[in-house]
Homo-oligomer: 261 residues x 4
Amino acid sequence: MTTAPLRVTVWGEGRHERLDPQVAEIYPDGMHSTIAQAIRDDSERRTEVRTATLDEPEHGLTAAVLDDTDVLTWWGHIAHGEVDDEIVERVHRRVLAGMGLLVLHSGHNSKIFTSLMGTSCSLRWRRGDDRELVWTVAPDHPITAGIPSPIVIDQQEMYGEYFDIPQPDELVFISSFSGGEVFRSGCTFRRGKGKIFYFSPGDQDFGVYHHPHVRQVIANGVAWAAPSERSDRQAPASHQSEVGWFLEAGRSHRATSPHSS
Amino acid sequence: MTTAPLRVTVWGEGRHERLDPQVAEIYPDGMHSTIAQAIRDDSERRTEVRTATLDEPEHGLTAAVLDDTDVLTWWGHIAHGEVDDEIVERVHRRVLAGMGLLVLHSGHNSKIFTSLMGTSCSLRWRRGDDRELVWTVAPDHPITAGIPSPIVIDQQEMYGEYFDIPQPDELVFISSFSGGEVFRSGCTFRRGKGKIFYFSPGDQDFGVYHHPHVRQVIANGVAWAAPSERSDRQAPASHQSEVGWFLEAGRSHRATSPHSS
Amino acid sequence: MTTAPLRVTVWGEGRHERLDPQVAEIYPDGMHSTIAQAIRDDSERRTEVRTATLDEPEHGLTAAVLDDTDVLTWWGHIAHGEVDDEIVERVHRRVLAGMGLLVLHSGHNSKIFTSLMGTSCSLRWRRGDDRELVWTVAPDHPITAGIPSPIVIDQQEMYGEYFDIPQPDELVFISSFSGGEVFRSGCTFRRGKGKIFYFSPGDQDFGVYHHPHVRQVIANGVAWAAPSERSDRQAPASHQSEVGWFLEAGRSHRATSPHSS
Amino acid sequence: MTTAPLRVTVWGEGRHERLDPQVAEIYPDGMHSTIAQAIRDDSERRTEVRTATLDEPEHGLTAAVLDDTDVLTWWGHIAHGEVDDEIVERVHRRVLAGMGLLVLHSGHNSKIFTSLMGTSCSLRWRRGDDRELVWTVAPDHPITAGIPSPIVIDQQEMYGEYFDIPQPDELVFISSFSGGEVFRSGCTFRRGKGKIFYFSPGDQDFGVYHHPHVRQVIANGVAWAAPSERSDRQAPASHQSEVGWFLEAGRSHRATSPHSS
């Protein structure tokens, strides 16, 4: 039935790639372009993918762009503090109104993620030489379609527990690292009408966003987080209601129902 | 992408309709036929719907039928004890292997539901003259698409708390009754690879399965509970694994990945 | 074993009682005093209860006061916007560090609650003449000890769904109202090391905080939300960890353990 | 306030210790005796601990014994099939009525655990030479009091995902193994009025039940799983209720409440 393409905006901080030649070598067009291509490459869905970065006006996240976005992905690291509070608030409202959100790797420390979670989102970390194994704990979840368990990532930054997040609505992946640490690396949350997927594999120093399984998880996550086509995309708001306010709305339906005759 | 129709089996006890002329008047072809038609009437999906009843051989739930079933719906009331334990076990295994299951109304007391929940599934009830209001508490959940909040059901049996179930993975609907009772009337659970939706509105004495919103919720629930097309439909089982068993499987992927060069 | 009394701070906005003679008649010493007394009256625990209000310096919530607080209760309504952001941030950090928090009635709209939840916490409401019934859906939860199901509250403001909160870690109470609405009126959440209990019954215009069952629920909730005596009361924070950092810490234990000899 | 000691029954299969001299050397009085002593050694609570084993009449779990039991712990492995279905059903009803249950290690495959979970409880395993690290993901949970994160267990059987259980109400521990696997090794579930804690570390071939941290977790788990002293210890059951049945019960309270005058 669904024919409209999924409209995705891939947001990237875009700083490491300019400041660090080693990162630029791994991601010559920026991590955001690599992530955007992963979503475009997904053969299972039609998508329209754009990118936006910190140094654009309004960080590239104008009201018009968000109006045209079903799912936003977020990668940031060294410049979380430079993201304007007003833009964060704008994105936050959109999520509550139904826009999907993928928060990637070091985005755990972003203003948008911590304000949606209400916790510190702090964690243990090590920039070392760990191998990460990403294990599926929610088989047949749409985010895991076509993904082996475990995903093997030869080199990766370690992210370990305690990860200070609310209990996820669904725990999808748990990772282990060579050093022995574990991490809840794939977690879903519903906030308002919006669906949020946090996925930790991905880093500026290692080419993790070129890994085919990591790319497939991101594409799957985008599809999972999309609002339904019927969504009114209105954020929840308080309403004052008279006694019996719902009776009028229900009447036409009941009148045509056999059981009320 | 999805083109295969959803294969649905609607199971009904089929006794009230034969024993009670008043029920037969409301549901001349049996409740199962009315429920089956609700699913067929759904304009959003292609479905192939069959029915099965208690008094057929193997209750109509042969291995061949279940092989050909993506989602099973279950309505029973006065003959739960007549359902063969072997058939219950067969259905149970299929659910763990990914078959979706909708449990309707008095099905809360069925062997299949209590064995999947591990609790008594007991509740408070009154065969009276209550109005039921069904409120959505999970907006934008696919099961609620196109459904007003509340659904107004003019006459219905009261089901009230305490409803002895495990905490649902998602609480979708809460009902109130004229008498003041409340009930968690729409609940989802994942067990193994299978998705389960319990939905309480529906009764043999009132024509609730003719109510257009109740019909839409059932059709939505069937679509939600369907396994993915990629599902292997194998029930989880224990495996003995050697050290490093996963490395071979992961190698081809890593070899073709830019990041490992 | 526990002998230290539970240190409780009851925070009240304290405005209605001064501005509205009708409220002052119901709560001559302020709602906060009535709530504080409910906690002191609890025969099951030793408590030390103080109160604090909006118009005190730092809203009465200095660092010293919070250092001496195991559980904070929060009631506000017409002056949420006057609460200083810095104080909110201070309380927020304390909750993540293990301080318990009870959010009462119209506190759903407070800055501290919305910032901990990450959602709008909006709801449906009616200042009418409803009877509220508060049903237990978590039997044997410590918050429900000694509480009948339902609690009958003859006159109360209606709070109804959709209540825009994250899925609670535990759903303890569901209310119905004469008008037919339902509400998740008792919900627990863990954030960081802190336990949070939202409980909606309670209002400035009706004497709900004199209701013996409402008083007992609040006292139970305070006891439930208390941090353990062994808690270090440190908020979670990110840590950089070397490979094998945990081995040294574990050694003494393993050396004395029979299994390692 | 609580003065009555906690009545604990430690159930053990008791076969390995008789059949395998190596196990008998590690646990000369049986694993159940070692586990029982761990609970008695807990300095934080007063306990009365007895043991029961498979080969006693009624497996040592007579109605009288269960009447006198607040928390039952369960360890079995090679003889799950020999446990009488009637005894399993008896224990199951007691759990729903409020008796706490700890399921240890290979007890994941026991009839009592799978019937309470409704899933296969299957998992990945390896009898090898792994080191297990047990990480806390629920800081300040009473089960983790006094426990370092991680617990280091030098030698242990590997238990790995996918572990086929319902989503736990609380995920308390996640383990990693030298081989790279991960496991949800500490999980809580509420079923009926009963609290259940599954904890995987522990084995017949390695002396894990001598490990001081494992012993402390078990003692903490027993205390956590205990029913409240006020519990009526009745299993939930269905009730037929007249309209307004709750008004009479609520009246006395409301009559003495200031707000109803």
